[in-house]
Symmetry: C2
Subunit: 468 residues, 2 copies
């Protein structure tokens, strides 16, 4: 292990340079115009895996973006770890809010990263975190120090709902056989307070279209007599929360697991400075479901947010149009045991029920995923916790995450395997926002920590835990 | 007059061809990229005026788009008519809903125009209607048949609020001295039921921006704890109408003139087929203020419509963003005696009052105009009515219009002169919508009617009304 850590220390500048190369590829999976770039990123990842020593790496085409799969089976008696990650990125809009171009990586110091951070779309989510695993593998394999078998499954559609991953997993169940899935696509509480994500919210994402008249109309000639789809959609969206910021869709909370008083007390022990939180966001008040703290609202409570809305004239100046259509992209974050399909169904029923005469409402489901929880007494959680304790010098805190990685529940359903979410980002890394970045410290700390995970996981699985 | 009408009949095909040339110029005043085209349209209009015999025509530059002014002062003892119109057009968006390109005029038959209509942006609003006046002038001046003095004032900013017209009128009050203003920028009830617009709604147009956090956020990490500006703006907009579709802004209806029972009975005698109206719009129900008919809702009652709304991710696919900002363009149609400035003030106050903690609200006024009414017993109204009776063979109905021509109240304030709104469009001409068109019949009928207006107006003004 010492040799492995020394190798990492001696090669870390090169690791960073290689990551920069990968971050330059604008692999925006949501934008059909970038399909070629997504493919290019897949090729770059496969190449990096081969160079790290995972010679058995291939690219599988799907009806969407490709899937990169690599494996190194060393000893059939050893446990097998499957590393999952994604090489696609979120769209970089709004572009004018980036301080440097999203696909021209720049290293700069920031408040949370005094040692510097790399600014680029995908730096943290998830190219930077995937690349930690590839580089850790290179270090371990250079010294024949890997005591597990390893598989890599890297997809290009995570940011658009992993549409083709479920089919791939079902079709290639044997290829993907493993004991645990290791994912770095989450955050730690801070660089001083390591944590492991012990649960994730699920997601239901839908697109709503309200149609009034069959064409755009003059608001002077028709205004006042014909339903305006934007007014109607606004009213409908406005009615989806009550005064206590609870979601009003009948049945929405029926399957929500309420935490015990003790669980709530425990989770609120995690460091959280509400004033600093507000200052960072530039807001004078938080807003959320009455009776819950910010930490609870963002992790163990479900939400409903409009992610995008548009209709009518949105250009410069004024146009007195009464539009034919209004659109909204709406996502709901779900918690155990809410079911995404059921939620989409009751959402759709409710919207159609509250739609007034004079408009038509269409609800089109986008992607979705189930909420997931990793038990803290599992072997994989313990191995991850021990690995982090080695590098951070303190035990990580189990923390529920607010985001969604729908594939966690997919892997559980299809492969029957639990995932461990050992991520190294920070919530302030602006993933999905302009100026996404990833701490240089975090990138290196991840590479340093991963080899310990394999060591402890191998030992714990074999029932033989030795101190190195 | 017979010679004038014969001239029109013999030259009508050329008139149409010349109009087509002018409709090809994309003079979109709202779009800075088309500033050159707006100028080009001004030049074309000035050239057309000169060719029609208004040699004294010049183009005045403003800080915005130019103003075309022409005059023919024949006899100081005769009354002076000022023709107002605009050569700028609405933006053509959404382009994909046009059956033929907006600036490539096409002549096609339609349900309401069995003799054919010319399809192009600006065909009816207002290039086609302005051009009727120019061609009628050409016919009258060819036979020395004009018994009034005439001035033309054509602006290029009507669709963006006539920002520089008020200043121009104040500065050139003497140049604009006249007895009446004649405007063709409105509609008749149908080709079988001529009408004259006896009143117009006013307008207050504002742009609202709601800002939450200082940057776009990940809806998983922050969702549920931070105000979402789209949700908030939707809720605010939704609250601006109550269940009876009345506007909830305190004081909004304070100055609204309620019509007498008799006035309401009279105005509802105008032909209106609610089933045909719904069928034409493709809607199963109308929607509007409880207790009023569709005709009332679109003319004598004030409204509040969102003309455009946008925020967050509006591209293809799904992006789980919690946006920093949401925007809406909102217009209110006003009726006598609502004051646009007062309405903007109470709107702004109300929006700020209902904004929750955690967001900032900014309201930016765009353009506005006062409501206006033309008395049906005035000389100019009578002259227009008599002219229409000549060509349509029946008396026109006085009809209140739902749209806004803010310059009508401007002319009254600055020049102390009333306007007569003798338009020839149809409400179904899709002005401000894709596939705007103008009936060939209506274009020719306008050219035929206008010379009668000058004849009757001259005679009535001189107290000597002779039958021709």
């Amino acid at each position: 292990m010492e040799a492995v850590q020394t190798y990492i220390e001696n090669n870390k500048e090169r690791f960073l340079e290689e990551l920069i190369g990968i971050l330059k590829i604008p692999s925006i999976s949501a934008d059909p115009a970038h399909a070629g770039d997504v493919k290019k990123a897949a090729t770059a990842m496969a190449e990096a895996l081969r160079k790290a020593g995972i010679e058995q790496t291939q690219i599988f085409d799907t009806d969407g973006h490709p899937i990169v799969f690599g494996e190194k089976m060393i000893n059939a008696a050893w446990p097998t770890v499957l590393v999952y990650g994604h090489y696609d990125v979120q769209p970089p809009d709004p572009l004018d809010q980036w301080e440097s171009p999203p696909f021209e990586p720049v290293i700069k110091k920031s408040e949370t990263h005094p040692d510097g951070a790399i600014y680029a779309r995908g730096a943290c989510d998830d190219k930077g975190q995937v690349f930690m695993h590839i580089k850790a593998m290179e270090a371990m394999l250079s010294y024949d120090a890997l005591r597990c078998n390893v598989k890599f499954l890297l997809e290009g559609e995570e940011e658009v709902g992993s549409e083709h991953l479920a089919g791939f997993c079902k079709e290639h169940k044997d290829l993907l056989t493993c004991d645990v899935i290791l994912i770095s696509d989450t955050a730690i509480i801070s660089n001083e307070t390591p944590s492991i994500t012990s649960g994730l919210r699920g997601l239901s994402y839908v697109e709503v279209t309200v149609t009034g008249a069959n064409r755009d109309l003059h608001s002077g000639v028709y205004g006042g007599a014909v339903a305006n789809p934007i007014n109607v959609l606004s009213q409908m969206i406005g009615s989806l929360h009550d005064e206590k910021h609870r979601i009003t869709i009948p049945g929405f909370y029926d399957k929500v697991q309420e935490l015990s008083q003790q669980e709530r007390v425990d989770m609120n022990k995690a460091p959280h400075d509400e004033e600093a939180y507000k200052r960072d966001l530039g807001i004078d008040a938080v807003m959320g479901e009455a009776g819950y703290t910010t930490l609870e609202r963002t992790t163990v409570r479900p939400t409903l947010d409009v992610n995008g809305m548009w209709g009518g004239y949105t250009g410069d100046g004024a146009k007195t149009v009464l539009p034919s259509k209004a659109h909204a992209k709406i996502s709901m974050r779900l918690v155990p045991d809410q079911d995404p399909d059921e939620i989409v169904a009751i959402f759709t029923d409710h919207l159609k029920a509250i739609a007034p005469d004079g408009v038509k409402v269409d609800v089109r489901p986008h992607h979705h995923g189930r909420p997931a929880v990793t038990p803290v007494d599992s072997v994989e959680y313990k191995a991850a916790a021990m690995a982090m304790e080695q590098t951070f010098g303190k035990k990580p805190i189990p923390a529920r995450g607010g985001g969604s990685i729908p594939i966690v529940s997919l892997f559980e359903e299809v492969l029957g395997v639990k995932s461990v979410l050992m991520g190294f980002g920070l919530d302030s890394d602006d993933i999905h926002s302009p100026n996404e970045h990833y701490g240089i410290f975090n990138f290196y700390q991840g590479i340093r920590t991963i080899p310990y995970f394999y060591q402890f996981y191998g030992e714990l699985k074999n029932g033989q835990y030795r101190q190195d």
